[in-house]
C-alpha cells in the first residue's frame, strides 16, 4: 500500500462515451448515454443529438436556463435520479466565475460539470512536527458518510465568493471565528477529472493552509462532522498509505499537503507521479 494507491482513481475517462454539453458555444460538461436518453423526453429544454447536448435556443438568459433546467431535474428526481438532493445551486459555465446558469449540486457529476470547492488544512505546529485536524463525516451525510475529512471543506455554491464561503463553512463545520478564518493562506489548487459512482467528477479545489493555536478545539455546528481528531502527521501518512478511510478528494489534498511540507522524500520512486497527478486536468475545451 502506498500514497500513490489513493491517486490510482485519477485516470482520464474515455470521453467518447459521453456527449459534450454545450451552452452558448462553450463546453460546460459531459453527459453519459443513460442521462442523454432520458433528457430526450424534454425537448423543450434539452436538445440532444448524436454528439452533443445543448439547451433549447429560446432559453436565452441565466434565469430562464436555470428555471427550465430545474423543472426537468425536479421531475427526474421524483423518478430516483440525482441521489442526495441538497437544494444547493451550483454555477455552470466555461470557467470559474463565468456562470451561464445554475443547477442543483446533486446533479453536477451526472452532467460532468466542473465543480469548485474549498479545502482547509487545519494544523498545529509542534516544534519541527505537525499535527493535522481530521474530521469524521457524519454517518447521515448523503455522500461519503463516516469517511475522514478536513477541518473545513465544502463545495463552492453560486452567489458566494471564496472568502465568504470560507467564513460560512468555517463557522458551520468547525466553529472557526472570522479572525481565525482570516489566517487561512491560499496554497494552490488541485484539479482532476475522474469517474466514480457519482458520475464524472470534474473538480477544481482551492486549497488553504490554516495554522491554528495549540489551544484551539473545533466544534461542529451543522451536524455534518461527527468528531474531530488532532493527528500527528505520521498517523495521517499511515492512514493515507494503508487505508481508504479518507474521502477520496480529501486524500488528494492531504497528499498535496504532505508534499508541500516536505513529508514526502523527493527520492521516493512515486514522487513525480504523485505531484503530476495532483497538478492538472486534461484539457477539455
Amino acid at each position: 500500500m502506498s500514497l500513490l494507491d489513493r491517486l490510482a482513481m485519477i485516470r482520464e475517462p474515455d470521453l467518447s462515451r459521453y456527449r459534450r454539453f454545450v451552452v452558448d458555444g462553450h463546453t460546460v460538461g459531459w453527459v453519459g448515454a443513460d442521462l442523454a436518453a432520458r433528457l430526450r423526453g424534454h425537448g423543450d429544454v434539452f436538445v440532444v443529438d448524436g454528439a452533443t447536448i445543448g439547451l433549447s435556443p429560446h432559453l436565452g438568459s441565466y434565469g430562464a436556463r436555470t428555471a427550465a433546467v430545474a423543472r426537468v431535474l425536479q421531475s427526474m428526481r421524483a423518478e430516483g435520479w440525482f441521489r442526495g438532493w441538497r437544494n444547493e445551486p451550483y454555477p455552470v459555465g466555461p470557467s470559474f466565475g463565468a456562470g451561464l446558469f445554475e443547477i442543483e449540486r446533486a446533479a453536477v457529476p451526472s452532467f460532468g460539470v466542473c465543480a469548485y470547492g474549498i479545502h482547509v488544512n487545519g494544523f498545529v505546529r509542534d516544534g519541527a512536527n505537525l499535527r493535522l485536524w481530521v474530521g469524521r463525516r457524519s454517518r447521515h451525510k448523503p455522500t461519503y458518510p463516516g469517511q475522514l475529512d478536513h477541518l473545513v471543506a465544502g463545495g463552492q455554491p453560486a452567489g458566494l465568493s471564496l472568502a465568504e464561503n470560507l467564513l460560512k463553512e468555517g463557522a458551520e463545520e468547525a466553529s472557526l471565528t472570522p479572525e481565525l478564518v482570516g489566517r487561512a493562506k491560499p496554497v494552490g489548487i488541485l484539479s482532476y477529472l475522474l469517474e466514480n459512482e457519482e458520475g464524472l467528477r470534474n473538480d477544481v479545489l482551492f486549497t488553504y493552509d490554516l495554522e491554528l493555536p495549540a489551544d484551539f478545539t473545533p466544534a461542529n455546528a451543522d451536524g455534518e462532522i461527527e468528531e474531530f481528531f488532532l493527528w500527528p502527521i505520521e498517523r495521517v501518512i499511515r492512514e493515507l498509505s494503508d487505508t481508504a478511510n479518507f474521502k477520496f478528494n480529501v486524500a488528494f489534498v492531504n497528499i498535496d499537503f504532505l508534499i508541500r511540507h516536505g513529508f514526502v522524500d523527493a527520492e521516493d520512486p512515486d514522487y513525480l507521479e504523485l505531484v503530476r497527478r495532483l497538478r492538472r486536468r486534461p484539457d477539455l475545451r
Binding site: S95, F96, G97, L162, K185, P186, V187, G188, I189, S191, V204, F206, I259, R260, H261, G262, V264, D265, A266, E267, P269, Y271, L272, E273, V275, R276, R279, R280, R281
Partner: protein, 288 residues
Amino acid sequence: MSLLDRIRYCQERDTARFRRFLVTGRPLGWIAQELGERLRGFPGVFAVSSEAVQLADGLDSAERRTRAVGDVMLRLREEGWFPGWRGEAFAVAPSFHAAPLLQLERAAARAFGVRCYCVQLNGIVERDGELQTWIARRSLSKPVGPGKLDQIVGGGQPVGIGLRDNLIKECAEEASIPAALARQARPVGAVAYRRQAGDLCDDEVLFNYDLLLPPDFAPLNADGEVAGFELWPLARVKAVLAESDEFLFDVALSLIDFLVRHGVIGPSDPDYIAICEGLWSAPPEGAA
C-alpha cells in the same frame, strides 16, 4: 505582460521542426531537423528517418551507446554544435528512477530534447513576520541565460549523485551555504514543462526545495556562476515575474510555484487556476 505569459512561454510547441529521438524503441527526446540531417553522416551510430532518429541496432548496451554517441558529439562539437559544452554527463532514461539507456554530455542532451532534472532552492528569510527570498543574478559567462535573474541555488542533476547530495553540493558552490544548513532544505514539490521552439526542445522536471535561512546569513558565490545576490520581498518577485522576462524562464516556473505555495499568488488573480495547472505541462514520466 502577466504571470500567465511566463507559463505559456514554457508551453510553446513547434513540433513540425522536430523529429523523435528513440532508444531501444522508446521515445526519449526530440531532435531539430538540422541536427537530424547532420546525424545522417554517422550511419554506424544513428539511423535517421524523416520521422525519427534511432540508435544503430548494434549498440546494445548503455556503455556502447554512451561511447559511440559521445564520439559523435565530440566531432560535432568541433564543428560548432552544442554551445555551452560542460563536460557533465546526463543520464538519459525513460523516467527518473529507471536505469539509464545512455549518458550524454549536458549541452548535447538539450539538443536531443531529452528530459533533464534539476534541483531548485528558494532561500527564504523571515523578517518581522514577512518572507523575503534571495535572488541571484546569473554571471554573464553562463552559457544559458547569462545575466538573467535566478534563485539562490539551482542546478542540473548529474549522473551518480542523489538529489539531496546534489543540492548540498550546489549550495556550497553557488552560495557558500554550509552543508549543515543545506540539509535543512525541505522538498516541496516539482514543476515540469516541455518547450519546443527554434532548434531546442527543453523538457525539464524541476525538484523544488525551500530553505529557511538565518537573517544574518549572506550568500557568497564560490564558482563564478553568480554575479551577485539580493534579498527581495516576495511582492517584488511577483511584480518582476509578471512584468518582465528578467528571470530565466524555467526559474520563473519554479518561483511561481513558490509564490503560489506561500499565498503571494492567490485566487483573486483571474488566471489563478490556469497558472496552477500550468506548473506541470510535460508528459508523464516514461511517456515522452
